[in-house]
Every structure is written in C-alpha cells, then in structure tokens.
C-alpha cells in the first residue's frame, strides 16, 4: 500500500533545505528524504494496540519544517528513521470501524514504561520524559516514530488505546482533522493564563494562530484580542473566530500600543499586551512579541521555534515571563482535570473549525500538497491535508 516514508539521508536532507530556502517552504519535497513507496502495515507493538486507517491527515508546520530540513537538531534523538509522517489524523479503527482522532504523543502508557514519568503520572503526556525510551523506537509522536507508522500512508498506523478519541457523529472528517492542532491551541491558550479583561495579542494567523484565537475566546475572558494576520483570508477568519482587532503582522505592535495607550522607548512599549501568544516561532516573531508584551507580562511560544538569534535583553530587563506550550495531555480545568482533546473537540464544534481545511490531496500528489501547505497563507488556504478515503485495501 502506498505511503510516504521519510528516511535518514543527509544528502537529500541538504538538498531539501537548499531547495526550500530558494523556492519556498514545501518545495523541497521532490528532492528531500521523503518518498512515495509501497509500505506494509506496521506491526502491533502489543495486544492492546489498534490499527487505524487514516481518512484525513493534515500537514502541520512541524511537518513542513522537517520536510524543509530546517527543524532543530534538538529533535534528532527524539525521532527514529525511517518514519511515516502525519500526526494530525482522523481515521477508522480496524475491526470496529470506529471513527477516531489520534492523540499522537507516545507517552509512558504507549511505551509501557512503568512507573510512568512524573509528567505522564500527572496526565501531562505532552511533557513525557520517556519519548526516547521503552519498547518503541524513539519518537515524540506517531508520525516521527519508526515503529508506529503515520497518517500519510494507506498502510495506516498503530495506536495505543490511550491515544484514541472517538469522534462525535456530528463531526465531519474535516472537523475531526482539526482536533489535534486545536488541542495544541487549547494547551497554548491555557498556558497563557489570561485573566478576565486582559489584552492579548496573537502573532500569526495560520492554523495555530486561528485555532488559538478560538481557544482563547472559548476558554478565557480576554478584554481585547489583537491578531497579526498576513493574508486577507486569514484576516477574515481571525475576525470570525473572535479577534477584536486584526491587522497586518507589521502593524500589530502599533495596534497593541494604541490599545494599551503605551508610550514607546527603544522600540518597546512602556505598557503593552498582558499576554502575547506567538504562533509563528521565528526570531522576528519572538522579537516582535517581546516588543509588545508589557513588563512582567507573559509570552507564550506555541509556534515551534528552532535555532534563533535573538536579543533577550528586553526579556531580562522587563522581567517577561516566557513559556513554551507544546502538545497536550490533561488540563487543569475549573471543574477538575480534563483531557485536552476533549476540550479541543468542544472548541472545534463551537467555532466550526472544520472550515479551516482548505484543500486535500491524494498521496500521489504529495509534492503539490506540500508546496500548497508551504504557501498556504499566500494561496488563501489554512490547513492542507491528505485524503486517504479512497485508499482502502
């Protein structure tokens, strides 16, 4: 069965990096380590495990960074080759036909690590400290692990029952495909610790930025949400999902200054936003975020950063709280602990986030799909996904 396989190949990795740097994100797929090939279904690592046949599998920013050869070397020991990418997956469980979304983190439960690490013990599977250990090959998530398969393959993937979430009947496949990225946004929105009335700025309006805006609106009571969105479609969606002020990225700092009625000194605001959520993760976006967050405010990195050159003097001088927000697990909700995916499903339903799936491609057209995803904003798209519904054996 056809699937996309990412192999360790330094020369191809370099070629992808060069091509994507010259031609744009997603353009390096044709020369990179990713190839379409015939794959066998992955072995079940244990009796409890289930096979999942993907219906839709999204292309995430972290996937693009991997395909472009620009992901951080930090992840080198946290993945295993060759792997089938694809961790934003809605599929059916082989045997039962149950429609599920996959929570891809390969935590202690999936790895049969006992006793579990403190993070997993507390339900914060996204923070699992054992993702390179246990009876599975290293891998942060399904989609980066040699043993589990991934969503970009008709051969499917294997998942531990703890990773499967039944999809409500009312959900379209597109809604379901947005649950995983929305879970990241939910985790980020909760990590922002927004207090009622806070001014919140969201940098970036791709999938993460847009779902973060929805999550912030759903889970907190910000006074004003400002968003920096580069493209017209993004601006429309950002407004629809709850941003009060939507401006171009280069205008966001000025909009925050206006909103907070701050003065400005050395390029930084005397006041600023109480919370800034950076959904881009570049040096520019983080520097911009630091320039617009207030003294002792909170800056949350939801977008995946890499190796960056950054002046952190303002962070130090203004005593800004910098927080990373990765993945999901269990959140400390007012009514008690709740799975992030359960909350994400609420947000997806409340805001109709399935509409963010702008285009789908068959696996055979993976180069086009990745190029489309790499230029999503410019081409008026948000989420690009692989459609595997016609690939049943």
């Amino acid at each position: 069965m056809k699937g996309l396989l990412f192999e360790r190949n330094v020369a191809r990795f370099a070629a992808a990096r060069l091509t994507s740097a010259l031609a744009g994100s997603g353009r390096g797929a044709g020369v990179g380590p990713l190839r379409l090939t015939d794959l066998e279904p992955p072995e079940l690592p244990g009796d409890e495990w289930r096979r999942v046949r993907p219906l839709l599998a999204g292309i995430c920013g972290s996937d693009l960074a991997t395909m472009d050869g620009r992901s951080s070397r930090y992840f080198e020991d946290l993945v295993s080759f060759p792997f089938v990418p694809g961790h934003e997956v809605v599929g059916t469980v082989e045997g039962s036909g149950q429609r599920v979304v996959v929570e891809p983190v390969l935590g202690c439960a999936a790895r049969a690590v006992s006793p579990p690490c403190p993070s997993c013990a507390a339900g914060h599977t996204g923070g699992c400290e054992r993702v390179a250990f246990g009876h599975l090959a290293p891998g942060l998530q399904i989609g980066f692990c040699a043993d589990t398969g991934g969503g970009w393959s008709a051969a499917g993937l294997v998942a531990h029952p703890s990773q499967l979430h039944e999809v409500p009947e009312s959900f379209t496949d597109e809604d379901a495909a947005l649950v995983e990225p929305t879970a990241c946004a939910v985790h980020g929105a909760l990590a922002a610790k927004v207090r009622p009335g806070d001014t919140v700025a969201v940098v970036g309006a791709g999938t993460l930025g847009l779902t973060t805006i929805a999550a912030l609106r759903h889970l907190s009571q910000p006074g004003v949400v400002l968003a920096g969105a580069k493209y017209p479609e993004q601006r429309v969606l950002a407004e629809e999902l709850g941003a009060d002020v939507v401006v171009g990225p280069e205008q966001l700092g000025r909009a925050v200054r206006r909103q907070s009625r701050s003065l400005q000194s050395s390029g930084h605001l005397t006041g600023g936003a109480d919370v800034v959520v950076d959904c881009v993760g570049s040096a520019e976006s983080i520097a911009q975020s630091l320039a617009m967050v207030r003294r002792r405010g909170r800056l949350v990195l939801v977008g995946m950063p890499g190796v960056l050159r950054l002046d952190l003097a303002p962070l130090w001088h203004r005593e800004v709280e910098l927080a990373g927000a990765y993945g999901y697990g269990t959140e400390d909700a007012a009514a008690g602990p709740r799975r992030t995916f359960d909350i994400a499903m609420e947000v997806v339903a409340a805001y109709g986030l399935g509409r963010l799936v702008s285009a789908t491609y068959p696996l055979e057209r993976f180069e086009e799909a990745l190029a489309h995803a790499g230029a999503a904003g410019r081409r008026g798209a948000v989420k690009v996904a692989f459609d595997l519904k016609g690939t049943a054996p």
């Binding site: 002020v245 401006v247 171009g248 205008q251 000025r254 909009a255 200054r257 206006r258 009625r261 701050s262 003065l263 400005q264």
Partner: protein, 528 residues
C-alpha cells in the same frame, strides 16, 4: 503692464497638452475637446516698499483701535504670535514676511520701552517647528534675540498649566487659549493670508487654542456645513471661529491683528514654466519641462522630495493691514479674492486636478495618502465661492502617486489612523467615534509636545476636511497612485487619465463636461 486676470480655456484641437502636477513631478495630459482649464490670475505686483507699508499699517490701523505705538508702554506684557510652518506654501525666500512684520513691531516696542516680550508660534495642533524653520520665518536677528533666552515659544496645546479657559460661546463652544497670550496686555498676531480661509478670528481662536476648543469646529458636521470653508459668508468653520473670537474680545484680551497677502509668484525661475499657460511656453520652458521630467523620472522619490522641498518661493507681499480683527480681515479677504478669484460659468460633471508635492501639513515631509486626500478634497475642492466646480454626484479625478508612505516623526498617528480607522470606515461622521482615543493617546501627546509630531487627532481633521467633497461627489478617482493606498482611502485607482475618464463615465455618462483646476498657483473659482 498689468497682470492678466485668470482665464478659462476651452480645449480644442489646437490646444497643447495640459500640465498636471503629480506629486514630486508633473505630467502632460490631453484633455477631451470641450474641457475647460482654469488658469490662475497672474501674480499681482508686489509692494515696492514692504517695510514702509508695514509701518504705515501699524501706524494707521483699521477699525476702532489706536496705532500700535500708542498701545505700547513700559512694564506691559506684549506677546507676538505668528503663523507656523504651514504657511506660506512653498516656504518663501528670505526675508519671510513674518520677519519683516515682527521686526517692525519689535522696533516700536523697543522705542516704547517694552521689555516683556514673548514670541509664540501659533501651532494649534500642528507639529513644532524646527530651529531652522523658526530662524527662516523670523530671521537671524529676531531668532538670536529671543530663542537663546527662552522668549521664543511654540504653543503647547497639551500644557494644562499654560492654558486658560475663557468660557463658552452662546453655542456652547469652549474657548481655551494659551495663557501667556490671554494674560498679556496686548496680543499681536502676525498672519500670512495665503488663502481666504486664513486669518480673522481664526488666527487666535484656532492657532492658540486647544483640542477642547478645536473639537467644536474641526469636525465632520462643521465641514459639511462650510460651503465652502474658503467663503466666509457660507462657512460654519468661519462662524464658529467668529463666535469664539468675539468671546475672546469680550474677555478683555486685546488683539492687534496684522494680516498680509501674497501674490501667486509661486515658483523660482527654473520652474517658472509651472505657472505659465502651456501654449505660451517658450522653447526654454519646453526644454526645461522635458529635461526636468526626464531627470525626475530617474530620481528616487526620497531625493526628488528633497529637491522639491528645497524650493523657496519668490512670492511677495501685495498688501498688509493691521488693527481690529474684523476690519482687517475684511480688507485682507478682498485682497486675496482680487489675486485669486476667477469667474467660472456653471459646474461640470468631472473635476480634474493635479496634486503637487506639498500641502500645509507636509512641509519638509512626506505627502502621505491622508494628506493627498485632504489636499484634493479638502483644499482644492473647496477653492470655490458660490457652488463647487463639480456638480452634485459628479466625479473628481486627482493625479498623484499617493505612496503608502508616512513620516514616522511628523505623522505617527496618521499611520495608526490609516491602518486602524480607515480599515473600519471612511465615513467622516462615523470615524468620529475613534477621535477621542487618538486625541488623548499619551504617546501622541508625548510626541506632539517633545518631538515634531502632529497631534494625535490631526488625521481626523484631515479627513473631516474632506467631508463636504465626499458628501457631494459620486466618486473619487486617483490617477497613478499606489493602488492599495488609494483603495484604503475608499477611492478608485486608475493607471492613466484616459482610464480615469472611462471609469468616470459609469457615473457621468460617456460625454461628460470636464473642468481642470490648473493649480498651483492658487486660484479660487467664483462659480456662477
């Protein structure tokens, strides 16, 4: 030889192409046969002895006031306020009129033994002038005598300690003035009356006031009821300032008004063709036009801007009158009209205009899109008496590059206005809901008071200035402008004049009547 009056040309087959200003450049356009082109009256003769004329005006004032020397005495507080960098346009060659007038006032004050004298640049909510601009306006002698001693001030409309609230008019308008001016024994105001709107009670009531006062007449409603604001008999802007001026007079503040008029000798010799009628261009004019056009086409905008803003106009004083405000202003207005009025028969479907590189608010700066709108729809559209040059529901076509560019130091709130207000609405009435937040924004206040920034509310005023035109015409088309910037203004972009006329035909039909306002030099249409 007497200067020729203005002229209305009807375009025919033999008419050469018409010159249109286009920002830091100009273009020749062929207007359809039958179009009218309005040419300004030629520059009136200047006063042969301007200093003598100034002294006579001070000694023989108009209205029921004593000659200036009789009002001066030792121990008194004398304040001399003067128009800021927004006048005249382009800035004039040295000596500036303000210098000539103020030197004479100071000579008389010195002769009378007055030693408490302060000069104040009447900025209202305009940007502070630079030292060079002040020195240019006042001359070395005055500048060096006052500036080093802290006696040359710039009005600060955000300094609560230096403002005094005089009361409210019978229409409920607050009158708040500069405290030094209001508490002086005599306030002398030195005007340069470039257009009919300038001067009169507006000098003190606007130039030395605060947002608290200005908001009563700098708003969309007032501007929509000023038809035009260049015609004081039909201007609500004028009426409001007059009410305030009379309250100021009733508050025992003695104002000695000095008003001066200029001829329309606008450009120096190398650009003289810009104020000649095209069919009268000499071979030298044509050569200069072609050479300068070719050079400007290759010049980066920033450099071109620098070249144009270095122009010092040769315009000269044609009259000076002093004394009681209203008597002075009546004479001044007659003199402005004598230089600028041009009788025009009826309105047209389309009004075209070429907008130059400068307006009152971008001296040594960038003509940003909001100022482009204000110059075309605020100033040029309102240069009429009687009826607008374009009919109700007609089309205005403006030629200007309209760059999406702002001077961050001069126009910081303009940037936010462009990005955050015009994206919501371009309705001059509706934008009012954002006004106060801009007017009271502490960052803009800081930049206005300590830098060279226009006040935070200023872009709103520029948009209000357009209110009458926006309510009157059916469409505004900008030729050769940055398309995104033009659209942000709510206007329609066009690449060429022919395209613009084609677009206009949707509204005014395929064979519209067209009038072109060939300005600058300034002219005011007296539309019958």
């Amino acid at each position: 030889m007497s200067p020729r009056p203005g002229f209305v040309l009807e375009v025919d087959r033999s008419t050469p192409p018409t010159l249109f200003w286009h920002g830091e450049g100009y273009r020749l356009e062929r207007l359809p046969i039958g179009s009218r082109v309005l040419y300004a009256p030629e520059p009136h003769h200047a006063l042969e002895d301007p200093v003598g004329a100034i002294r006579r005006a001070l000694l023989e004032p108009l209205g029921d006031v004593a000659p200036l020397p009789d009002q001066l005495r030792p121990g008194m507080r004398l304040t001399i306020a003067f128009d800021d960098v927004s006048l005249p346009l382009p800035p004039m060659r040295r000596p500036d009129i303000r210098q000539l007038v103020i030197e004479q006032v100071l000579d008389m004050a010195a002769a009378a033994g007055v030693d408490d004298v302060v000069l104040i640049a009447a900025l209202a909510l305009h940007r502070r002038m630079t030292d060079d601009e002040l020195r240019h306006a006042l001359g070395d002698r005055v500048y060096d005598a006052f500036a080093p001693h802290g006696l040359l001030l710039q009005h600060d409309a955000e300094d609560p300690d230096n403002l005094v609230h005089l009361g409210v008019t019978d229409e409920g308008e607050d009158v708040e003035l500069n405290k030094r001016a209001a508490t002086s024994d005599l306030l002398v105001y030195v005007n340069i009356n470039l257009v009919a709107m300038d001067g009169g009670h507006k000098s003190v009531a606007t130039g030395l006031s605060s947002y608290r006062s200005l908001r009563h007449h700098h708003n969309a409603r007032t501007m929509q009821h000023s038809r035009s604001f260049m015609d004081q008999d039909h201007s609500e802007l004028h009426s409001s300032n007059w009410r305030m001026g009379r309250l100021i007079a009733a508050s025992d503040i003695k104002v000695f008004q000095i008003e001066t008029t200029l001829n329309t000798d606008t450009f120096p010799e190398q650009f003289r063709f810009l104020q000649r009628r095209e069919w009268e261009w000499s071979a030298k004019d044509r050569a200069t036009f072609m050479a300068s056009s070719a050079a400007l086409a290759r010049t980066p905008p920033r450099l071109a801007r620098g070249i144009f803003h270095s122009i010092r106009a040769p315009h000269r004083m044609t009259s000076v009158q002093a004394g009681e405000v209203e008597a002075v202003h009546a004479r001044t207005t007659a003199n402005v009209y004598a230089q600028q009025l041009l009788e025009v028969e009826g309105q047209s479907d389309v009004l075209t205009m070429g907008l130059p590189y400068i307006c009152p608010y971008n001296v040594h700066s960038i003509m940003n899109p909001i100022l482009v709108a204000c110059l075309g729809l605020g100033y040029f559209f309102n240069m009429y008496r009687g009826r607008p040059l374009v009919r109700q529901g007609g089309v205005i076509i403006m030629s200007h590059p309209t760059p999406w560019a702002f001077h961050a130091g001069h126009h910081p709130s303009y940037i936010d206005f462009f990005e955050q207000v015009l994206t919501e609405t371009t309705d001059p009435v509706e934008i009012g809901k954002y006004e106060e937040s801009f007017a009271t924004d502490p960052w803009y206040v800081h930049l206005y008071r300590t830098g060279h920034a226009y006040h935070g509310v200023h872009p709103f005023y520029m948009w209000y200035w357009c209110a009458h035109a926006l309510a009157h015409v059916g469409s505004v088309i900008v030729v050769g402008g940055d398309r995104a910037a033009v659209r942000r203004l709510g206007f329609t972009p066009a690449t060429t004049m022919a395209d613009a006329l084609e677009l206009a035909s949707d509204l005014v039909g395929p064979d519209p009547t067209i009038t072109h306002l060939h300005s600058p030099p300034l002219l005011m249409a007296d539309v019958q």
